[in-house]
């Protein structure tokens, strides 16, 4: 199970990086959110890989419990990633208005 999750996180990371490297602005924004989700999963499994049941529960009290702290951290990180993603979409909208394109290579006024 742990190996499966590790491979899954790696695959998500790969898909995210591939999408970020594409020329389409919206695809790269979606790649960004995929990467951050992969990292959130990694964080959860940093605390939960020894645990079997959820924290703060009375069911199955003998089984090892997951650590609650990484889940709190991930909750914070998800909110931050969401704020950042919203801002990226806002900037892409501005590009749509100003440059009339979704192609990264055409947003090139900064070429000095």
């Amino acid at each position: 199970m742990e190996l499966l999750i590790a491979i899954g996180i790696g695959l998500m990371m790969a898909v995210g990086v591939y999408q970020v490297l594409r020329r389409n602005l919206i695809r790269s924004a979606i790649g960004l959110i995929i990467i951050s989700n992969a990292i959130h999963l990694l964080l959860i499994y940093a605390g939960a890989y020894r645990g079997e049941v959820a924290p703060y529960t009375t069911v199955g009290a003998e089984a090892a419990r997951s650590d609650a702290l990484p889940q709190v951290l991930v909750l914070t990180a998800i909110v931050i990633a969401m704020g950042g993603f919203a801002m990226v979409l806002g900037m892409i909208y501005i590009f749509g208005v100003r440059y009339r394109t979704g192609d990264m290579d055409k947003v090139d006024q900064l070429k000095y």
């Binding site: 990694l42 605390g47 951290l73 990180a77 950042g84």
Partner: protein
């Protein structure tokens, strides 16, 4: 049991809480720009005053001030720690941030009139202060992300049409840096089960052979390098800083990049002391390359603000090398250099922006502002003093900081990096004098109508006077630098003890529930 919180330990909350309060208040009075600007300046200046108080308290008593948020002690809750290093860094940042807001109130940029300009500026200050005062690696990530988001928005609303593009680029790169920091947090948590810096330092010292530790160190180092634009991760910096509005640029290019320097110092003197050697070697090599590269980039550019952004790359090389040498003298030199460079760079950027605001269309390109300095002769005088400081000539504070760096290098016989630094110093003299000659000594070209009104010069005037003052009366700052270096090298155990004191008290008195008599 609640840990004992003396009234003085609440002092460390104020520099973070006052900008936060300022954000709320400035949003309430968004109808009136003048009141909003004054309120924002008041909040930031108040925060600066409290951080000065904090620094004085820490400096005199020699003990760090620790505050346990919500009464949860030590590694179980979030702690705010004000020791000498964070104290110096916060005083430096908030001084420049307050001056940035003061410049913003007298600035003719259209974006300074937006209702969210001052709240965002205060959010930038809040993030910067918080990340320097926090005692928790994850909190560092949260506050650093606040800096990134506030900085991106402030640049994206810039008058410069390229602002959004530069902000987009910066946001992507900084978000990757933040994610890298998050993975580093995950590695540290998986290996050591804590994220509190003091607790982490203690546990790493006890067991430095965990397999994930090198991964965590490298990722932490990379994220801090992106934050402070050290040589191989610098590519976003000139574009982003040039496109930002002048008051924001002055803050970004002087104090926001110091966040990475703070991170390096925390890494090499608190968190990863056992593996610090590798980090320090890479810092010296990258700093030497960066110093020369930044200098040459500044000499070859065509825009006054871009020139100063490249110059930041070069000057950061000096600080990074001094951090990498890790002797008492060189760490003191790093602190002194960082403090002085913030004042100088902010002042120079404000002057360049003030001249640029006189151009028919606001810009800082040399070709468009040739001779426009003649309309603001006072700025010329200030630019000469600031330029002398940037190039490191006496009697300014730039001379003191360069002297400190060269002395610390000569003491340990590191001649190869010193040659790079000498070349970089020489180049900085060349580009500063070129800019002065182009802007102030050439006649105004025919057909160019300079504007009658430009940005106010109060903030750069204050900063340049401080530069002169710190050059003529350098003793307090030099003393502070040396004390901070001693604290960083010898106060590690004391830092850990001060933060974890409350935890130990808790362990002594704690009873498992249900076993009380």
């Amino acid at each position: 049991m609640m840990p004992e919180q003396t009234p003085i330990s609440h002092l460390v909350v104020l520099p973070v809480a006052l900008p936060l309060l300022g954000i709320a208040l400035t949003l309430l009075v968004r109808g009136n720009r003048r009141v909003q600007g004054l309120l924002a300046f008041g909040a930031m200046f108040g925060a600066f005053a409290t951080s000065c108080w904090l620094l004085a308290e820490v400096w005199i008593s020699g003990e760090p001030v620790v505050f346990h948020m919500g009464g949860f002690p030590g590694p179980f809750g979030i702690t705010l720690v004000g020791d000498l290093l964070s104290g110096v860094m916060v005083v430096m940042s908030q001084l420049v941030l307050a001056m940035g807001i003061l410049y913003g109130t007298g600035c003719r940029d259209k974006c300074a009139q937006y209702p969210t300009f001052y709240p965002l500026f205060l959010a930038l200050g809040l993030g910067l202060t918080g990340s320097m005062l926090t005692g928790d690696v994850f909190n560092l990530f949260v506050f650093a992300e606040l800096v990134v988001i506030a900085g991106t928005v402030l640049t994206a609303i810039s008058d410069d049409k390229k602002g959004t593009e530069a902000a987009y680029k910066y946001f992507y790169i900084s978000t990757f840096a933040a994610m890298v920091l998050l993975v580093s947090c995950g590695c540290l948590y998986a290996s050591y089960g804590t994220l509190n810096m003091a607790d982490l330092a203690e546990r790493i010292a006890q067991d430095p052979d965990r397999p994930l530790l090198p991964v965590a160190i490298v990722l932490f180092l990379v994220s801090m390098m992106v934050k402070s634009a050290v040589m191989p991760f610098h590519f976003w910096q000139p574009d982003f800083h040039t496109a930002a509005p002048t008051p924001v640029h002055a803050v970004l290019s002087s104090v926001v990049v110091k966040l990475g320097i703070y991170g390096f110092l925390r890494m090499t003197t608190l968190l990863f002391v056992h593996e610090a050697e590798t980090v320090q070697t890479s810092l010296v090599v990258l700093g030497a390359i960066g110093a020369v590269f930044g200098g040459l980039g500044a000499a070859g550019t065509y825009d006054a603000k871009r020139m100063l952004a490249y110059s930041t790359l070069g000057q950061l090389g000096f600080i990074v090398i001094a951090v990498g040498w890790n002797t008492p003298l060189s760490l003191a030199a790093a602190i002194i250099f960082a403090f002085n460079h913030s004042l100088i760079k902010a002042a120079m950027l404000m002057l360049a922006g003030a001249v640029g605001s006189r151009a028919p269309v606001k810009t800082a390109e040399f070709a468009r502002i040739v001779g426009l300095g003649r309309t603001v002769p006072v700025a010329g005088l200030l630019f000469v003093i600031g330029g002398m400081a940037l190039a490191g000539l006496p009697p300014t504070n730039g001379f003191i900081s360069k002297l400190a760096v060269f002395r610390s290098g000569l003491e340990i016989g590191e001649y190869a990096p010193l040659i790079f630094l000498a070349v970089a110093s020489l180049v900085s003299l060349i580009y500063v004098s070129r800019a002065f000659q182009l802007i102030w000594l050439r006649p105004i070209p025919e057909g160019v109508e300079p504007k009658k009104q430009g940005d106010l010069l109060i903030a750069p005037l204050v900063l340049v006077s401080l530069c002169l003052l710190l050059g003529l009366w350098a003793q307090p700052l030099v003393q502070l630098g040396h004390d901070t270096a001693t604290w960083m090298l010898e106060g590690r155990e004391e830092y850990i003890r001060a933060v974890l004191e409350a935890r130990d008290q808790l362990f002594e008195t704690w009873q498992p529930p249900g076993q009380e008599p």
